[in-house]
């Protein structure tokens, strides 16, 4: 039993956009570019980035809800991309996803009991009537009550709906949960309840989390390690403490300084980046160069910086940090 549960190597995902008359012009949008990640068993890796950084696409590629263009995905030593449809279905029970919008990810015509019981039927062939005790146990684990069994999703608040989604994901006893912005749609007091529930479940069931978020204060609370994405590339990766105390990449520094802290005096000098990422990547050079606030070198405009190790488990892709190349 190795330490690494999930290993992603050189993952790439291209989307082909067609334009022009009869769609004869092709434009390739590289949503994920050469991303490598490892998630240790029982740990939480945070994937952080702004909209369009490719964080959700990575999550979907790992589950093969979307076929990656290139790259390897190894889950628990198994080459995930080599599996055929049947093997894939069996393996998927081990990886479950929780989505941002709890209301949109639950079928409004099914009761809570059916929703939580459905994965049992699909993956283990147990009908929901037989599985009732398992379902009730799962509902109890996530903090739902027995009388909720026959209710419909619309009768619940956002936080409760997210609990239903979590119970559904846990039904098949997964090893890895991909949490795609699980609390972004929730109020802070409810967010705190859900985050605590997720931590408690992680300890209880030895779960491994891939935590996708744009909210760095939540990531700081939840994650052991963080990978920051900018336009499909990892720009910095390190243990969470290092990211917050000793970040090297100018983008990371700007993001951290832009977190609105609930503390009127705490704010140091805030770095406000110019422009926005929707302008797209420059043809050459560092993808972040057009918005960079640090001193830019000539190389930034011409060469793309590789992701290099600057310290034991700290990787940065920036020309200002050429250490240990």
């Amino acid at each position: 039993m190795s330490d690494v549960l999930l290993e992603v190597r050189n993952l790439r995902k291209d989307f082909v956009q067609r334009g022009g008359l009869f769609g004869r012009q092709e434009h390739v949008l590289r949503a994920v570019d050469d991303v490598s990640l490892t998630v240790a068993r029982g740990k939480t890796l945070g994937l952080v980035g702004e909209s369009g950084s490719g964080k959700t696409t990575i999550g979907k590629c790992i589950l093969r809800l979307m076929e990656p263009t290139a790259g390897d995905i190894h889950y628990d030593g198994v080459d995930f991309r080599a599996l055929d449809a049947r093997q894939l279905r069996a393996s998927r029970a081990d990886m479950q996803m929780i989505y941002q919008s709890p209301s949109a990810s639950l079928n409004g015509r099914m009761t809570v009991g059916q929703i939580v019981g459905e994965p049992l039927w699909i993956h283990e062939g147990i009908s929901s009537s037989v599985a009732r005790n398992r379902v009730l146990e799962l509902m109890h684990v996530v903090g739902l009550k027995e009388e909720h069994y026959f209710r419909y999703p619309h009768e619940f608040s956002g936080g409760q709906q997210q609990r239903i989604g979590i119970a559904r994901a846990l039904a098949v006893r997964p090893g890895l949960l991909i949490l795609d912005e699980p609390t972004s749609a929730l109020d802070v007091s409810v967010q705190a309840q859900i985050l605590n529930l997720l931590q408690q479940l992680q300890d209880q069931f030895e779960l491994t989390y891939l935590f996708i978020s744009h909210d760095l204060s939540v990531v700081r609370y939840m994650c052991d390690e963080v990978a920051l994405l900018y336009l499909g590339k990892i720009v910095e990766q390190a243990p969470v403490r290092t990211i917050f105390e000793d970040s090297r990449h100018p983008y990371t520094q700007a993001l951290i300084s832009a977190i609105p802290e609930p503390e009127p005096d705490s704010q140091g000098e805030q770095i406000v980046l110019r422009g926005d990422p929707t302008a797209g990547r420059p043809e050459r050079g560092c993808p972040f160069a057009p918005r960079c606030h640090a001193e830019t070198l000539d190389r930034c405009e011409t060469d793309e910086p590789p992701l290099v190790t600057v310290d034991a488990d700290h990787k940065v892709a920036c020309h200002l940090h050429p250490e240990l190349t």
Partner: protein
């Protein structure tokens, strides 16, 4: 007292629904002084957006009903105004921006058409020319040309580069942050006294949020604007506002200068809200939510609406609505722990 630009007193708003009467606002008290940035915070359904919409009387009645209270703007009660006079108030004194910049622009028209419209609209509502001078008025073309010049000027003011070029673009050619800037430009067209910003950065990325908040602050300094900033994000409030009002279930439960609110929150709900935000020093498992759920507005709890979830509940919390208790200068809490007049 005389310095208050806007003073909302004991505002009650109800909606008729199929399930009964929803008591959406149940006695909102809020004072906004000239030149301040006031944050209005609270969770989903607490009535912060309803308060914002009630000020310019943008709530459809029926089903809505304001059955008590006053909205004093420069000492005059807006609730007593004629509808036509309200239109003039909206054009001259008020600018509003909303959460989702994409849905507030018409995708079929260029920014020029929409921004020029906003400029012309506010002029039409502010200019009054006696009939006999009509012949000397500038031509329609001249008016539009002036309006376009003004629109480009506004784009510069809100930090959109190359206004002369970009004004001919459609909304989809702008990014989210730029669209929000366009909407701010529209809101500023009438040189308003008061800007109401309803979750202006919620749909934006953090780096863009920082840009927009910085812009709002600089506009306050530059134009002497007064801002009511509605948000659920306590961090945004801490960094942007001078004063804060916290709402819970249709009432303002605490109002204070920003430092006092974060350093010595008085109301148990405010305390809980601040504790629920993960900060750098929160250890694993150390985050505290507020137990329970927000109350139903059709059948809300008697007395203080927070009492079923409150950890420091007293006997009379369930029967009496707490009045304002003064804690420090400008710091009020509506809670029985701080008796009225004490």
């Amino acid at each position: 007292m005389s310095d208050a630009l806007l003073d909302i007193r004991d505002l009650h708003l109800e909606f008729d629904t199929f399930d009964g009467v929803a008591k959406v606002l149940a006695g909102v008290n809020l004072t906004i002084e000239r030149g301040d940035v006031v944050g209005l915070v609270g969770e989903t359904g607490c009535g912060k957006s309803m308060t914002a919409l009630a000020i310019p009387r943008l709530i459809r009645m029926p089903p809505g009903r304001i059955n008590r209270g006053q909205i004093l703007f420069k000492g005059e009660d807006l609730l007593q105004r004629q509808d036509s006079a309200m239109q003039e108030f909206r054009a001259r004194h008020l600018g509003m921006i909303f959460q989702d910049p994409a849905t507030n622009l018409n995708p079929l028209f260029t920014i020029r058409e929409q921004l020029v419209d906003a400029v012309l609209y506010q002029q039409a509502n502010t200019r009054s020319v006696p009939g006999r001078w009509r012949g000397f008025l500038p031509s329609a073309r001249q008016i539009r040309r002036d309006a376009q010049r003004r629109a480009i000027e506004l784009m510069g003011l809100v930090g959109i580069p190359d206004g002369e070029m970009r004004i001919h673009d459609y909304p989809h050619q702008f990014s989210g942050g730029m669209r929000q800037r366009v909407l701010i430009a529209m809101a500023l067209a009438g040189e308003p006294d008061l800007l109401i910003a309803d979750e202006p950065t919620t749909a934006l990325d953090v780096t863009i949020q920082a840009q927009i908040l910085r812009l709002i602050r600089s506009l306050v300094r530059q134009l002497g604007l007064t801002v009511l900033l509605i948000t659920h994000n306590l961090g945004v409030v801490a960094n942007t506002c001078d004063k804060v009002a916290v709402m819970y279930s249709g009432r303002v439960i605490e109002q204070a200068p920003v430092r006092d609110l974060f350093h010595s929150p008085a109301h148990p709900y405010t305390q809980g809200l601040i504790r629920a935000v993960p900060s750098g020093s929160t250890s694993r498992g150390g985050l505290q939510g507020i137990p329970g759920l927000i109350p139903n507005l059709i059948d809300p709890p008697e007395g203080c609406r927070f009492h079923p979830r409150c950890s420091q509940v007293l006997d009379h919390c369930a029967s009496q609505v707490p009045g304002p208790g003064s804690i420090g200068s400008g710091h009020l809490a509506f809670c029985h722990l701080y008796p009225e007049g004490a």
